[in-house]
Symmetry: C2
Subunit: 231 residues, 2 copies
Amino acid sequence: MNTKNTNIDNQPLDFSLNVLKFLTPEEQVQIDKVQYSVSFNKGETIFKQGAPMPYVIVLKSGLAKVFLEDGKNRNIVLRITKPGEIVGGPGFFTDYKHHFSVTAIEDCAAHYIDVEAFKKLLLHNARFGLEMIAYLNNAHVKLYEKLKILTHKHMNGRLASTLLYLSNNIYNSEKFDTTLSRQDIADMSSMTKESAIRILKEFKTSGIISCQNNSFEIHDKYGLVNILENG
Amino acid sequence: MNTKNTNIDNQPLDFSLNVLKFLTPEEQVQIDKVQYSVSFNKGETIFKQGAPMPYVIVLKSGLAKVFLEDGKNRNIVLRITKPGEIVGGPGFFTDYKHHFSVTAIEDCAAHYIDVEAFKKLLLHNARFGLEMIAYLNNAHVKLYEKLKILTHKHMNGRLASTLLYLSNNIYNSEKFDTTLSRQDIADMSSMTKESAIRILKEFKTSGIISCQNNSFEIHDKYGLVNILENG
DNA sequence: TGTAATAATTGATATATATCAACATTAAAA
DNA sequence: TTTTAATGTTGATATATATCAATTATTACA
């Protein structure tokens, strides 16, 4: 954290963005009082796998990578998290620890919500709890997809999947600049950065994409889908 | 399904086993009325990935494998499910479809609970909902572990992990007979059956385990842990 | 019980992927 | 700007793992 971290000019939560919209207006006022905002610079750690989790975090602006650390030096980037998303992970109501790390890949702002206050809301508003279950289940299904891709697809397919994810889910454009490094892209695709670079070049040579430094453009989305599905 | 499938002599649910214990006595009576029991022979499909999910299932007896199908011919066995465990998967409150398949690996009996009745309980009993969230989060954390092992460990480590899982979590003994085939064990470890067989032989030769047909014995559990952690 | 079908095993080989080392480029800092 | 550090790129090589084909053991079943 740095000097930008402050809750002096605290920003209100945007309740339209996520399951928090299922809170009653009174509950929303109540939770807005106990939350506070923190800013992070690109590259800063928002929280760290294994650390205790006194807060549920809702990203307010910027992008962050959510990743598993394996104790050695290889990471698995599970997803990129966007504004409005709840990042607390499955730690709550189990061991109250974070089970993944989150690092800002752009300058970020995040709301911190006390986990006990959050729990109280779940205990008093069953509808909210139900929506939370739906939200968690959704994340769970996505993890199954990831597991299938990472274990049963070859490198080309895995990298195609990563590019499609970035284009469709994160940058919402066939053309995007990213602050992700080649290593990050490799960590999203479960391969070494050397392999990621080689396959990017292959894709470039075959005209499916173009990329230079941090600028990417997907020319043939169907081609990528085909590589993902058929090898 | 076969002639054993019947709800004529319906068995009552055992509420001590899982999150259902957080239901009130009245709710337990209510849910016991709408549930019914079904029996499956070894090898029978309990439910199938992609199928609609009108029921949450609680295994009553026997063991079943929970696995992802990738559309081709390779499966990922996520876990073995035991009596008392809720098997409904993350389909509920998302798309009401099953996101994995479940097949009996022994003769099984299962309780079927109407998913709408289950949902109603969640809406009326927030405590139950909270425990359900904890339960789902727990499953989520385990999936992270699996993801780490399957993507960052070599075959020896992955197979060691599978053997430890069977011994510690399923059969609760260093010595166990299993109804899992070599292919199942391979599917749990994300490798081909040929590779699984070769590594089992390696483990046998080095004296860490012995196995013949369906009988396994782990002689050096610490050795397996070491292989899992260090290669 | 004998026979067919299924599962387990082994070996030879091909392929996918990581590793290592060198070098180039870009970004950061003084 | 110059220098340093970090990141990206390429090629050569080693290794892990899958595939294929053949053989044997086990189970189901007529």
